[in-house]
């Protein structure tokens, strides 16, 4: 791994963060006829209270307070400065700091998404390897059809089907929320069981769909590996086929598999956000849905920025780890 490669990757990471910040800053400004301050005040008048002309003065006061009377580039620089210290502003609805709102929701999302992605990766990779391996049992190879079908279903739609089957029709698992109402949060058995039970359906929706995608990719890699000379050679040397499968096949196929994970992080996160919203799971997705419905701009932009930031960090880490575990490719050379 050359220094050039690392520098380039970090440069790209910084550009991603800057692009995400700029999207949040400029797109709302480009939208026609939007004045969030006047809009909020107008809404307040509907509830009764404020007089017409005085309202414009109040709006001016607020603009001065938030620096919105300054030229655009000063606002932009200030905005970037605030973001650099992760100051995401204040919610229009609850008036608490957006950072606090996000921090409260974050553990739920990380727990759900982290577990689901990991499980999908492990099970999917092994399933795919067995589907692709010419010597695996026939019934395992048949799994190509369900993996193909599951990979075609967006996770939030899979979630609807699972709710209908397991929560409505058979009533085995609870639906909605993060834990049972009335259970007091704490590190005891009842609370943890309640959390696991409530996470089961959204996690299943994510795992099953992710598993399908991973299995298909893994199958493709394994299939192409088993045409390689070194596998032929290993077979001719009389190595046990199980050993060829694990040590020569799967081990090499896991590397491209990781690149695929890095490439699909965005769609996985996007899908998970909608899954959370569908299940009213107390993570970022549900907070985003509520903020969208209440036109709570700072919260929406804060969550969007955080999601892009975390995907950028994950991609950066994977890209930096990848050359370390794959010595075959020399990075940093011009392709």
């Amino acid at each position: 791994m050359t220094v050039d490669y690392v520098i380039r990757r970090i440069g790209i990471f910084l550009l991603v963060v800057w692009a995400a910040a700029s999207i949040n800053f400029f797109i709302p400004k480009l939208a026609p006829g939007q004045d969030p301050i006047l809009g909020a005040l107008l809404e307040a008048t509907q509830d009764g209270g404020l007089a017409g002309d005085a309202m414009l003065d109040i709006a001016d006061q607020y603009r001065a307070k938030y620096g919105l009377d300054q030229p655009l580039y000063i606002q932009y620089v200030r905005y970037l400065g605030d973001l650099a210290v992760l100051d995401l502003g204040v919610s229009f609805v609850s008036f608490s700091s957006v950072r606090d709102i996000i921090l409260a929701r974050l553990p739920w999302t990380i727990g759900l998404l982290g577990t689901a992605t990991l499980m999908g990766f492990i099970f999917g990779s092994f399933l795919g390897a067995f589907i692709g391996w010419p010597y695996s049992p026939r019934f395992l190879q048949k799994f190509i059809v369900p993996s193909f079908m599951f990979s075609a279903v967006p996770p939030y739609l899979m979630g609807l089907v699972l709710v209908w089957l397991l929560a409505v029709t058979f009533d085995v698992l609870p639906f909605g929320g993060g834990y049972q109402r009335g259970v007091i949060p704490g590190w005891d058995f009842e609370f943890i069981m309640s959390i696991l039970k409530h996470a089961a359906l959204p996690a299943m929706a994510l795992v099953v769909t992710d598993l399908g995608v991973r299995a298909l990719v893994m199958r493709g890699t394994i299939l192409s590996l088993f045409g390689e000379d070194y596998i032929r050679h290993a077979e001719n040397r009389g190595l046990k086929s199980w050993r060829i499968f694990t040590w020569y096949g799967v081990r090499n196929a896991l590397l491209p598999q990781l690149t695929w994970v890095a490439l699909s992080l965005g769609s996985v996160a996007g899908g998970a956000i909608v899954v959370e919203a569908v299940f009213a799971y107390p993570g970022l997705g549900t907070a985003l849905l509520a903020a969208i419905q209440g036109f709570d701009f700072p919260v929406v932009f804060g969550i969007v920025f955080l999601i892009i930031l975390s995907i950028a960090v994950m991609t950066l880490l994977l890209d930096l780890i990848y050359p370390l575990i794959d010595p075959r490719i020399a990075y940093g050379k011009k392709s």
Partner: protein, 298 residues
């Protein structure tokens, strides 16, 4: 002289058609996928003979009816005839997807060609831009756009917004292809015979990349469906259009799943899943053509 040329041309054209048919027959995945998409595309035009599309608006029918002969897919809580919703909405969903996919492919093709062929600083800029944008999830940017204009997103605007974020895949594939193809002998021959760069790009290189172009088009369409339906499920789609994603949103909003109104959400869900399967079948089929090694070993 000219007559023989024209005859030869028509023979060539016929041969090409036959070749394509053979291609499709040999690649059954591709054929199946194309048939699935064709079938979905026909639901709209054919269905409109059997149902008044206007009844896809709220308050047109008695609300919350389960399926009957008169309303084959029932009605929803807001009084939409759900069969009419399917007939009117599916073409809209397909339009967003294919419009966004085509625009993304066009932008990606032009940028990918330019990057691969011109090289140098232009290549670096385009490559860096695509590296940056590929990390940013389309859905998140769409959320910002849609919230900023307070959900006044039309079907076309949605397609354009998606297309601006769907060009990176095609651009990368095409750039890589240009880099390998440009070293081939026939490019040197065309240059020696006086063709300019643009002619070489579009007359010599482009036809050789059709399978790759088709595959990246399908991928762009998949991204478009995934992000547009996701956006709509969050309630940020065109609220006045009965697209499949919006139907799912209303079903969620009114608790159709918990209320046991399966006829409300199962049809749009099925249609979306079938659409994805068709697209994946096409993508896999095209992949077999573009990368024959995978096809041979299976």
């Amino acid at each position: 002289m000219t007559v023989t040329v024209i005859q030869q041309r028509s023979v060539v054209a016929r041969k090409r058609l036959v070749n394509w048919m053979k291609y499709l027959a040999a690649h059954r995945m591709l054929l199946a996928g194309l048939l699935v998409i064709l079938g979905l595309a026909l639901i709209g035009p054919i269905g409109s003979f059997f149902v008044d599309v206007e009844t896809s608006r709220p308050l047109s029918e008695w609300p919350g009816e389960s399926p009957t002969l008169e309303y084959p897919l029932g009605t929803d809580t807001q009084g939409r005839n759900l069969f009419a919703v399917l007939v009117a909405g599916l073409p809209l969903t397909l339009r967003v997807a294919f419009l966004a996919g085509s625009l993304g492919l066009i932008i990606g093709t032009v940028l990918g060609f330019t990057a691969g062929y011109v090289g140098g600083v232009v290549d670096t800029v385009i490559r860096t831009a695509s590296d940056v944008l590929i990390t940013i999830p389309t859905l998140m940017v769409l959320v910002v756009v849609a919230v900023s204009i307070k959900g006044l997103l039309s079907v076309e605007m949605m397609a354009i917004a998606i297309a601006l974020l769907a060009w990176m895949g095609p651009a990368r594939v095409i750039r890589a292809q240009v880099l390998t193809l440009r070293e081939k002998g026939y490019v040197a021959v065309s240059r020696a015979s006086g063709m300019n760069d643009i002619e070489i790009m579009y007359k010599e290189l482009l036809p050789n990349m059709l399978p790759f172009l088709a595959a990246s088009f399908v991928n762009a369409v998949i991204i478009a469906v995934l992000s547009s339906v996701g956006l709509q499920a969050l309630g940020l789609g065109p609220t006045d259009a009965p697209t499949m994603g919006m139907t799912i949103h209303w079903a969620l909003e009114f608790g159709a799943v918990l209320a046991g109104m399966w006829w409300w959400w199962i049809p749009p869900l099925t249609v979306i899943v079938v659409l994805f399967m068709g697209l994946y079948l096409i993508a896999t089929g095209l992949d077999e053509i573009a990368n024959p090694r995978i096809g041979n070993s299976s």
